[in-house]
């Protein structure tokens, strides 16, 4: 092969082989994942929760069923008519819990996406360029993460008000350092491998190297972080709502429902049980999937 034929133009993916390898890696990871009993259970549960939430949100009328107060049906214990009972305004808790899944799921996913985009990009830049850029980015992250995450989220939410968008942002901001760190570490591992040097030697530009080579190979730990963080994002969001700093009443957010139920804990304990169980099930299933993914991607850790 002559030299002209051998060198591809810059800005093109240097080799299609990377993509093929990623595809078969992906298949293998999926296979490993299916074998993990916990992950399978987790997928089933979260799928069920998502389906129920979506159906409830699409079919049930918010004003009629979710927030309308029916004095005659106040504070009824769980029964066939109201499987989870009713709250102090006569609202059916079962429907509220199912409907309220939207807040937790939405906030969890969006917050983590926010974290991932900001933190991930920062981390990749820090990892790849090193030097002063890396120092500045990482030191800033260290400083942010020395504030206990709950306090930082409370601070942001207090300052900007209690609504779902601020909630997403504050939960997201709190997790940015973690993603930056993981992304940077991942990039640093890949950066020093020889195929990167080879790509540079044939003239690929720095950006094309970053995105076509480094990014796909650094993904595994990042993906694991994403799944782990969705769970904690949901819990943080529920905690903030519990304190009155998240999604405001009368929305049936699970944390907010727990806060309301707390006043009635003595005689109507069911009000605090069900929304909490919903949180636990949702987060547990996501964590199971996250654990399974981590084991599937790095079998060394398991054995």
């Amino acid at each position: 092969m002559s030299a002209k034929q051998a060198s591809p133009k810059p800005n093109q993916p240097v080799s299609k082989k990377t993509n093929n390898r990623n595809r078969s890696q992906f298949a293998e990871i999926m296979r490993n994942l299916k074998r993990n009993k916990g992950a399978v259970i987790g997928i089933c549960i979260i799928a069920l929760i998502v389906v129920l939430t979506v159906i409830t949100n699409l079919t049930v009328d918010y004003n009629e069923k979710i927030i309308r107060q029916v004095a005659s049906e106040r504070l009824q214990k769980p029964s066939t008519e109201h499987p989870f009972g009713t709250d102090q305004y006569g609202r059916d808790i079962f429907l509220r819990v199912l409907y309220g899944g939207r807040y937790s799921l939405l906030v969890g996913i969006v917050a983590v996406m926010v974290s991932l985009s900001i933190g991930g990009v920062l981390g990749i830049i820090a990892g790849y360029f090193g030097g002063l850029t890396e120092s500045i980015i990482m030191r800033t992250c260290d400083i942010f993460s020395s504030i206990p995450s709950m306090l930082l989220a409370i601070c942001i939410s207090t300052a900007f008000g209690a609504n779902i968008f601020i909630l997403m942002i504050s939960v997201g901001v709190v997790t940015v350092p973690a993603f930056a760190r993981v992304a940077r570490a991942s990039v640093m591992t890949v950066r020093d491998q020889e195929f990167i040097e080879a790509a540079r030697a044939i003239g690929a530009s720095r950006f094309s190297i970053m995105f076509t080579h480094i990014l796909p190979n650094s993904l595994a730990p990042i993906i694991v972080q994403v799944t782990m963080r969705v769970g904690s994002a949901i819990i943080t969001a529920a905690s903030l709502s519990f304190l009155g700093l998240g999604v405001p009443a009368p929305a049936p957010e699970w944390g907010a429902m727990l806060s309301e139920g707390r006043s009635f804990i003595r005689n109507y304990s069911y009000m605090t049980m069900f929304p909490g169980l919903a949180i636990v099930l949702t987060v547990l299933s996501i964590n199971l999937i996250g654990d399974g993914l981590r084991d599937a991607m790095d079998p060394k850790l398991k054995r």
């Binding site: 504030i147 206990p148 409370i154 601070c155 605090t272 049980m273 909490g276 398991k302």
Partner: protein, 326 residues
């Protein structure tokens, strides 16, 4: 456990390398504190409305409010106000809580012991559960002991602290009447809150202990120890565990920070009179100065704990100390 005579405290050797290490770590804390307080100050400052709006209420005219602001120095640029605030902090003056008309710093300090007590007992509970469980899971990897520990750990990570607290109250306080659910009057009052705080920490600590031990268990120096005739129990307890300690210490440190933050939730649920509940009450009362002060002071506390952990590292792993004291 035993060591050679000079091994117990190599740091006490002449040279005092330990002192240098501690001082260098303390110094590195200062810029962090400055930066953190700036961030908190800045965020709170961004919020619409300020102290004047709260104090003055709606009856006072806009013009009068402007005068008040001028008097209180609220019109000065951000940095100036920030440095005045920091200067005040060094003197122990972080403003007056408009609710109680007392010094913010003093109020915080008076509530701090309750939180420290809760966090400490909670951490002890967490360690007592997490470390033995984690070691057992690692040593018996892939058996039912391991799998069940992992499941328990995962469950622990999935349960919100405040909900656990509520459930504990329902079962042990209301139904069984064993422990009080509010306040800290009796000795028993600390049981439920401590278990709540501890369980949250235990999950992550257990998982870290397990994975750290798994790493160490595969190391060659354990083979050397066995080849020497060291009994297996001692191999695990002495040779393996000390090496596994470093990541575990990190987790304990970060978990303390989480505990301090989570104390907010636990203290709210159990009406525990600590700084967490102080923060929540201040938020409801729109007591801005108290909020800012609480968050900054708690962060400083958390950083000091991390510093203590860093120092503990140097005792455990001689390589780390060597890196800092060149």
């Amino acid at each position: 456990m035993h060591s050679g005579p000079l091994d117990l405290c190599p740091s006490l050797n002449p040279g005092g390398s330990m002192h240098k290490y501690i001082i260098s770590r303390l110094l590195s804390l200062i810029p962090v504190i400055l930066a953190v307080s700036f961030i908190v100050f800045f965020i709170v400052d961004l919020a619409p409305g300020d102290v004047v709006d709260i104090i003055a209420g709606t009856e006072v005219s806009v013009a009068d409010k402007a005068v008040m602001r001028e008097e209180m120095g609220l019109n000065k640029p951000l940095l100036v106000r920030y440095f005045r605030y920091m200067g005040g902090m060094l003197r122990g003056d972080m403003g007056i809580s408009y609710v109680t008309n007392k010094n913010v710093f003093d109020i915080y300090m008076s509530r701090l012991p309750a939180t420290l007590l809760l966090a400490s007992v909670g951490t002890i509970v967490a360690l007592a559960i997490a470390i033995p469980l984690g070691i057992t899971a690692a040593v018996h990897q892939n058996t039912w002991l391991d799998s069940s520990s992992m499941v328990i750990g995962l469950l622990g990570l999935s349960i919100p602290t405040f909900w656990l607290g509520l459930m504990l109250i329902i079962v042990f306080s209301l139904k069984l009447g064993l422990f009080p659910s509010i306040g800290n009057q009796t000795l028993l009052s600390i049981v439920l809150p401590a278990i709540t705080v501890g369980s949250g920490q235990a999950a992550l600590t257990m998982r870290t202990t397990r994975s750290s031990m798994l790493e160490v268990i595969r190391q060659d120096y354990l083979s050397t120890a066995r080849a020497k005739g060291v009994p297996e129990k001692v191999v695990i307890r002495k040779h393996a565990f000390k090496n596994a300690l470093i990541p575990i210490l990190t987790v304990i440190g970060t978990q303390f920070g989480v505990a301090l933050g989570g104390a907010v939730m636990t203290e709210t649920v159990f009406a525990w009179p600590g700084v967490g509940r102080l923060l929540v009450d201040s938020i409801s009362n729109r007591d801005t100065l108290m909020v800012t002060g609480s968050i900054i002071l708690t962060t400083i506390l958390s950083s000091i704990v991390m510093l203590l952990i860093d120092i503990a590292y140097a005792f455990v792993d001689p390589r780390i100390k060597a890196r800092y004291v060149k």
